[in-house]
């Protein structure tokens, strides 16, 4: 008899569907079927057991990998962290919050830089939020109340496949009994995307001119005149869209990489927030970033409560945390060759970083912690396989609207393979041992006294 497990959370995108039904074999070892998920989500489960390593692999002088024990891998990693002047621990889009908290403990002990995928993704959103705030809501609010939806620079039809059906366009909520028929959909994108297909209004903004268009929106909202064409969009179209937005009972702007990674970046997000604030003088509007991975919102939450910063945390001063994106962000640190060891966890930096920083990071020890082989593991000095969160390891993840979702595991990880949290706890213990050994060997360094020390 196969076993059906219900209410399973999906470890793929920021939509964090928690209604999956997964059928596993009698012995609890094989995943047979995944229901309710999109094709990407089901692939995550079905692919779980393929290409798995059950022991860490250490690069040999001849370039091949040799399997080593977890104790050896923990020792190697702790020594790399201990010996490095400024190690960088980066990734975390695809692990649970327990793992992030444990990694932060290691980073603080080692005096490392701690960064997550937002650094190359929604980091520009953080910059805008620091300046302008974030009037938002949970996704259930959108489902129950929203009668106008704006997707700006986002293509959920491909990137967040169940976003539109679970939360935004199609569902029938408490005050939205007509579902799709009761909602107006505005899509703003330079391309006629598959999301634009379902829109009532598609404004084909000239690429890189989103800021201009937002400015025109704000001008019209406040009742002023605009030029005949702004950012490639005709005045009448803008007025029509603004009119719909002002008459909404409840509206939400979902924005994606099209804003935070085209010209203007954080300024695009900033003015999007300003538009939302303006609209709240007339009716109810909210805004939400389309966060990518299922738990990329997580490190922003965990590290905010631990250190007060969501990303780009420089803990190398050891007694105080410091954040300054551009100075303490991963790609910039790598480009300036400021880091001398790299731990890549729960993401694939080799695939996602530009090639130059990858080359520079590669000059130093590079350790990848990931369940599966990926581009990063293949150029690493050490690959430590771990259990897959959401499949083999339970834990808390944060959905794109900051709602915590409790994930389950459907099968057990291969024997002996730890979770990210367990692995980091072991690294932490080893690191403390190394530091204690060093302290015992050398007398403690006395800090030099300043001339005014006695005053």
């Amino acid at each position: 008899m196969a076993k059906k497990i219900e209410n399973v959370g999906c470890p793929f995108c920021g939509v964090c569907c928690d209604d999956l039904v997964v059928t596993v074999s009698d012995d609890g070892k094989k995943i047979l079927e995944v229901e309710n998920s999109c094709i990407i989500g089901s692939t995550v489960f079905h692919r779980a057991m393929s290409e798995r390593h059950t022991l860490p692999r250490l690069r040999q002088p001849d370039g091949t990998f040799k399997e080593i024990s977890y104790d050896e891998a923990v020792d190697y990693t702790a020594k790399v962290l201990h010996n490095a002047k400024k190690p960088l621990i980066y990734g975390f889009g695809s692990t649970n919050c327990e793992g992030m908290a444990a990694a932060a403990k290691v980073a603080e002990q080692a005096g490392a830089v701690l960064d997550n995928c937002a650094s190359i993704c929604h980091g520009s959103s953080f910059l805008a939020i620091f300046d302008n705030g974030y009037p938002s809501c949970t996704l259930g609010e959108v489902k129950n109340r929203a009668d106008v939806i704006v997707y700006w620079g986002a293509n959920p039809a491909h990137a967040h496949p169940r976003h539109m059906s679970r939360y935004s366009i199609f569902p029938r909520g408490f005050f939205t009994g007509k579902g799709h028929k009761g909602r107006k959909i505005i899509v703003i994108d330079p391309r006629h995307t598959d999301t634009a297909q379902v829109a009532d209004i598609h404004l084909q903004v000239q690429q890189g001119h989103d800021y201009d268009l937002f400015d025109a929106f704000r001008t019209v909202v406040r009742g002023h005149d605009i030029p005949d064409v702004v950012a490639g969009v005709r005045k009448e179209q803008i007025i029509e869209a603004v009119d719909i937005m002002k008459k909404a009972r409840f509206g939400t702007i979902f924005y994606g990489m099209g804003l935070c990674h085209s010209d203007g970046r954080n300024h695009n997000v900033d003015i999007a927030i300003s538009l939302t604030r303006d609209l709240n003088d007339f009716t109810k509007w909210t805004i939400m970033a389309m966060r990518g991975h299922y738990n990329i919102t997580g490190p922003g939450a965990v590290w905010s409560w631990q250190y007060g910063f969501p990303y780009c945390l420089d803990l190398t001063k050891r007694d105080i945390a410091h954040m300054n994106p551009g100075e303490t962000s991963s790609v910039d640190l790598a480009m300036r060759e400021e880091v001398d060891a790299f731990i890549n966890i729960g993401t694939d930096a080799a695939a996602h970083f530009p090639i130059e920083p990858v080359k520079r990071l590669r000059k130093h020890p590079w350790i990848t912690i990931d369940p599966h082989p990926n581009m990063a593991t293949e150029i690493s000095d050490l690959h430590i396989p771990v259990g897959i969160v959401g499949v083999e390891v339970p834990g808390i993840v944060y959905r794109m609207d900051n709602v915590p979702i409790q994930y389950r595991n459907v099968i057990e990880p291969p024997e002996g393979v730890p979770s990210d949290e367990e692995l980091f706890e072991r690294i932490y213990e080893r690191l403390c041992e190394l530091e204690a050994e060093e302290a015992a060997r050398e007398p403690a360094k006395a800090a030099p006294e300043g001339a005014r020390a006695g005053e």
């Binding site: 949970t138 109340r145 604030r277 409560w305 007060g308 007694d319 915590p404």
Partner: protein, 568 residues
Amino acid sequence: MGELLIRNGFVFDPLQEIKGDRMDIGIKDGKIVETSALKNPKAIDAAGMAVMAGGVDVHSHVVGPKVNVGRLFRPEDKLFKSPLKRCDRMEMGFSVPSTFKTGYDYARMGYVFVNEAAMPPLHSPHVHEEIRDTPIIDNAAMPVFGNNWFTLEYLKNNEIENNAAYTAWLLRATRGFAIKVVNPGGTEAWGWGLNCESIHDPVPYFDITPAKIITGLIETNEFLGLPHSMHLHCNNLGNPGNYVDALDSFKLAEGYTAKNAFGRDQVMHVTHVQFSSYGGDSWRNIDSQAKEIMDYVNAHDNITIDIGQVTLDETTTMTADGPFEHQLQSLNHLKWANTDVELETAAGVVPYVYSPNVKVSTIQWAIGLELALYSSDLMRTFITTDHPNAGPFIRYPRVVKWLMSRAARDETMKTFKWLDRTIESTTIDSIDRELTLYEIAQMTRAGPAKALGISNIYGGLAPGMDANVAIYALNPEDMPSDPDMIENAFARCAYLVKDGITTVKDGEVVAEPAKRTVWVDVKVPENAQVQRDIYEHFLRHYSVGIENYQLFEAHLHNPRVIEVDSTQ
């Protein structure tokens, strides 16, 4: 665990009406014991010092999603404002400190129990994750009910029993502690960008008035017999002239008496009353109505309050009162975060500067102190700053200083730009009262513990209670002439013993005893109707499945459950 003897201190324990007697306190296995039960104790010499139970905070925003938004979106709250690391973990932030700093700072002030003021039920796993990372202090968290669709629907139809069954279910689902009510009805109206400006202003669609929500929740609370009472943040908070609304809300408690087995006497705790004690009709002519408010409170012993003292700092406001924060951002034009939470609540966060150069700020400062100084029963009037709304909790020692010293108040008032107008609009200048250490002990441990219904565990020094003892370097027979010494003594206690372990010594954390999560488990009869309603709302309206909404046991950390059996 070891034995400990705290010798020769001046003991202040209002729960036993001990007013500064020289006594020894015995501790064994984490509990207070008779000194005769000790065999070979280690001794702490408390001679010439004040000995009190560990502090109990009735209302403070320390863990959870809106607190974390405050941390995330204010990097400037860390810059040049964070101390260097001196404990296990770094301590970052000023007005919204990191979880680690929160735990350490409360311990340094001699506090052991902090009640998180508002937990959005949907976000309970987040709240419990932060509780795990808040060292030393025991935490409880109050889920918000005042704008919850289930609650609105049941109370509209006078279904107290059903509402009670739902309340019990939600307390268990979120591992919550008490019924919190924030701007009843108004926050639901904020879902449409609206508000309920008085207690008679009906909620859009749900068609129930805030007044009915308040009385319904009092009835629910007493029907269940929970340890704490209904905990209210009033409608129309923060606006000139709102003392009328506050008094209207207070009056709703008339005729209700507390029914519980936890020694609690009040049926309504009204929080941060400073924000609800304004006269006038505009920011131009706002004045203090603290006397009116306290006349009512003094005469009605089924109400407790906390003051919500403005500390004149740059801080971060955060509340489930969504429309209030929207109004605030249109006043100060600073950044504004908001999160509406499906079926339950909302929250807003806006930075705010309470400046001695701003008339409204200094009037607010005076009102908070007036509330305490006009109180005739300090077992029902507690010190808070509605952390971080009126100021960060690390200012409690300064609030104590202001309350204990007229000279300290005068010193602060000298810095006011609009001193004359502050004196005109308030009565602070005519009050000479200076509170005593016994009264401070009432306001910061015994009173809050009694109001929270936990005075058999916290807030006192009777044998059998948790061995939580704070020792302050203040000699009641020889109080310092410099009021700043009072502030210093309360900011860094000489000793804090938590659960029998010496945790703080000379103001520094020296140990991190295990912290607890305190929650209330209420037994109610099976209620098929409520079960069906819960099932339906989760099926159709929530964005999270019911099985994933309820906190997993694995995410509850070191629980201490208070059991209530309402079926008896």
